[in-house]
Amino acid sequence: MNKNFFKNPYYLIGVLFVIISFLVFLLYIIFQYEKNIEKDMFTIATTDVLHITQNKADHITKILRYSDDYINDIKKDTQLQKRLEMQLKNLITPNIKYAYLLYKDRKNTFRFLVDGSPIDEKAMINEKLDITSDKWFELYEAKLPVIIKHTYLQKLSLSYLVPILYKEEVKLVLVIDFSVDKLHKINQIIIMMKSGLFFILAIVFILFIVFAIQFIRYKRMKQQSFTDRLTNVYNRNYLHEIEDTVNLDEYMIAALDIDYFKNVNDTYGHDVGDIILREVGNILLHTIRVEEDIVVRYGGEEFVIFIKNKSENSDTSLSVIQRVFSNIKEHKMFINEEDYIYITVSIGVNKTPSSSKNFLEAFKLADIALYEAKESGRDTIKIYGEN
């Protein structure tokens, strides 16, 4: 993997953005399919219990195998009642709140026959049970187990009804009622999943914000560290930053030096020298094409200019250099409120930096041209390789 991947903060912001998107998507899925997840988890948690209840119903049928009138035989026989009660008691767990055996009388009222509940909650024989769903009657037609989900009972989540048949006719119903505890536990797990995701999302989001703020600050600081405070053009740090990555095919390189700058400093002082440098920087920034060309203060009174080649014809780029040269020469440099001086510059140009191995070599050629310009009396532009 490219080392720039870790150096470039854009990628990290992108990665954080992808993580946030993924977590939001996950949360959306959980919210969207919460009921299905709850249902599936409940099914997984109760499947074994439903099988056990079915087995229990089969066992009760076996116990009653010598009876041809289940209801009346149970009502009359206390021993049989106790035996069946034991079977029902075995079904009761922290999650199965009640287990009981009912019958339906001729008025379609459901009544208790045997109840596996503890004594304080035990229903009496023949005590009626007001049912809360018509699904109870479906069992008598389909002769198959029925699951009834309770939506408004506070303490029960669902009931499982298993028919007990005699000669293909439903005579008794074995009922188990699930407490809401299991459903609450499942809901708690879902809530925990949601809370956990929210928590992670919040942390990632905070990280994202912190990172974005740091990134902006970093960019600002980097910008400051790359700018020469006196002239407002790029400084040498920036040159180091781009010298390996700048595409030399795209640019023409010019080295610019202010003529007799030492004399200006010696005659008018360093404050005026600074004014001259600031003015030159200002002219450079106003003359080059801001989006395309690059100006760097190389050191002292020397500047490097990268002029972008817009076409095969190098005249356009050279005209930018010519404009820089003229603008500086014609500009009144005020050394105080009334007095001004004119200054000139020498410029050396390397028109084909791509012929060099790297920037340093290309710059060296521009510097040679600059040397030639100075040698030939200054205030001129020299192009490397041209007399």
Binding site: D130, L153, I191, S195
Partner: protein
């Protein structure tokens, strides 16, 4: 520090359901019971109900008083809901409508003409046909399915 405080706040909000014990529990079951008793008493008496609940708790008083004119004694009431089995003998001698919340007590004590009780966490209503007749109570149609004939 700001991030730490923000994280702590987020965690507190995320687990806010853990702190509901700090709020007074309002019993929905009592409210539901009060509404049912109001409907039954209205259907049974057909006039203003003066309800007496022996040994009424503060929570019950708070909820029931929203629906009923509660009396402090048996004498001034016209409907007695005995939900704790604490009816005094003096009260039992009164000619009032007695209602219970216990199926067994309904079967054992013929003073009660009906019961509203929770069986297997489900609300159940029972009226005894013979006792309705003895108290000259004519229930509305919606309650007919709850009437039981103890002689059957």
């Amino acid at each position: 520090m700001k991030i730490f405080t923000l994280l702590l706040t987020l965690i507190s909000f995320a687990f806010s359901d853990q702190y509901v014990f700090l709020v007074n529990k309002y019993d929905k079951e009592i409210e539901y019971e009060a509404k049912i008793i109001l409907k039954i008493a209205t259907s049974s008496l057909g006039r203003e109900i003066k309800l007496f609940i022996p040994d009424i708790s503060e929570q019950e008083k708070k909820i029931y008083s929203e629906y009923f004119n509660l009396t402090k004694n048996c004498e001034t009431a016209n409907f007695i809901f005995d939900n704790k089995g604490s009816l005094t003998n003096d009260c039992k001698k009164q000619n009032k409508l007695f209602f219970t919340n216990n199926y067994k007590k309904l079967m054992e004590n013929e003073k009660y003409y009906g019961a509203f009780f929770w069986s297997k966490s489900r609300p159940n209503i029972v009226f005894i046909k013979q006792r309705l007749e003895a108290n000259s109570v004519l229930l509305s149609k919606e309650y007919l399915k709850y009437i039981e004939d103890i002689n059957e």
